[in-house]
Symmetry: D2
Subunit: 138 residues, 4 copies
């Protein structure tokens, strides 16, 4: 079961090989993550002293290229949640063709005295993200 | 007489036509602007309550394309300074070939009570930028 | 009367000032241009030996900033068409607030023996773009 | 022993949190990879029917953020070379502080009849990349 975010490849996403540049897939994953947060009634950007979500790691496995004007879907799952981190797994497809899969892991952090310190992930956030994924079905 | 900033075209700067994407030239101009500020002993980014420089307008005229790994030079001149704005004019060349010319106009602003208000451009900033341009010759 | 393209600001569109980076507006204009072409039943990218549309000039006037997750509309008009060029004018708004206006001018070109040469803009392309603008109303 | 590529953070690399956007590190790795190829007397982009290097996977582990105008170094090592793939490992540092580490894995491919097919990595390419890493020392 996954949350689904739809996107079209834009001209500036491509490179001289004629396909989407490999770094763009990390932006596509982030766009889908933020769409999930909005569907959950949340925003990843709260007040300046609120929790933030610095990246711990990012990975992508490339299976098939995307081209200009391709429409594709990014599926988002919550695959791990430790006390202080959340991990998403993403599956990109275009009309049934697997484009690739990736992960983003983020730590829950709070700004205190100018520096970021990691804190426990609020239970409510995980609950609302899971509910948004389930309500969209898929 | 102009300040000169050298740059090489990176792979991600290109698009499917095989040339640098037209939006990248605005980033090249900004990189040259900030290199000029550094040469003047300044940084465009000061403390949060300091003067900022929101863009008022940006233009570029395209004459010849740039390709992957091309080395080019961005010449920067200070072509206008009103009480509250600075205008730069940029000339991009690659081994004597004119790539294009552009302008950036920015207003001097200060953050007060959460909003930006335009203020007079500090004389010292203009003087130091002009000195940096002159000392580099060209 | 203008064609309308809707977009949401993504996280990676922003810069350290907390607003959309000024170079992004050139990508927003291009996205709207290509959406207009699709609405006209055309694609800006045809076969390798077909007509292409290198940029001649690009301009933008900034009136009000955009922030993360803002939804905005790009209005597109065809404001000039010489024998060999097309000029679009764009108006960006967010809930009635003017964000800025810009222009893109492109020359119609054909690849011949490895180089691009400018050709007359096909009448049918202009006719179909105008029809797409009119049919969408606004 | 690693090849070293130096870079400065540009304004457009940052996001609203005030640090370099996490997707930029994939571009920094690629820039360092291409600098290594140039140092080896090679270019990653050859004729249209030559070998290309589509990405198989990309990873990055984030340790410490980068800010506007920071100067940093990307160290590049060749950590694996199978018959058809090359893997690079990258280490980013800023004045001794570890910013993060990452990997890129690319498959050697040749365009035949419009599609890409994987081929054996030419021995000479690996030899020249290794020589470029060793000659730079460090």
């Amino acid at each position: 079961m996954a949350f689904r975010y739809s996107r079209r490849v834009q001209f500036a996403d491509t490179d001289l090989v004629g396909i989407v540049h490999f770094s763009m897939f990390f932006r596509y994953m982030e766009e889908a993550e933020h769409a999930l947060w909005r569907a959950a009634g949340l925003s990843i950007v709260e007040g300046a002293d609120e929790a933030g979500w610095p990246r711990v790691s990012a990975t992508f496995e490339y299976k098939s290229p995307l081209h200009f004007e391709d429409e594709f879907v990014v599926g988002v799952e919550l695959t791990a949640a430790t006390r202080r981190t959340i991990q998403y797994t993403f599956t990109l497809t275009r009309e049934g063709t697997l484009i690739g899969t990736g992960t983003l892991t983020a730590v829950c952090a709070r700004r205190r005295d100018g520096t970021l310190e990691s804190i426990a992930v609020p239970d409510e956030i995980v609950a609302r993200l899971r509910a948004a994924i389930e309500s969209q079905g898929g």
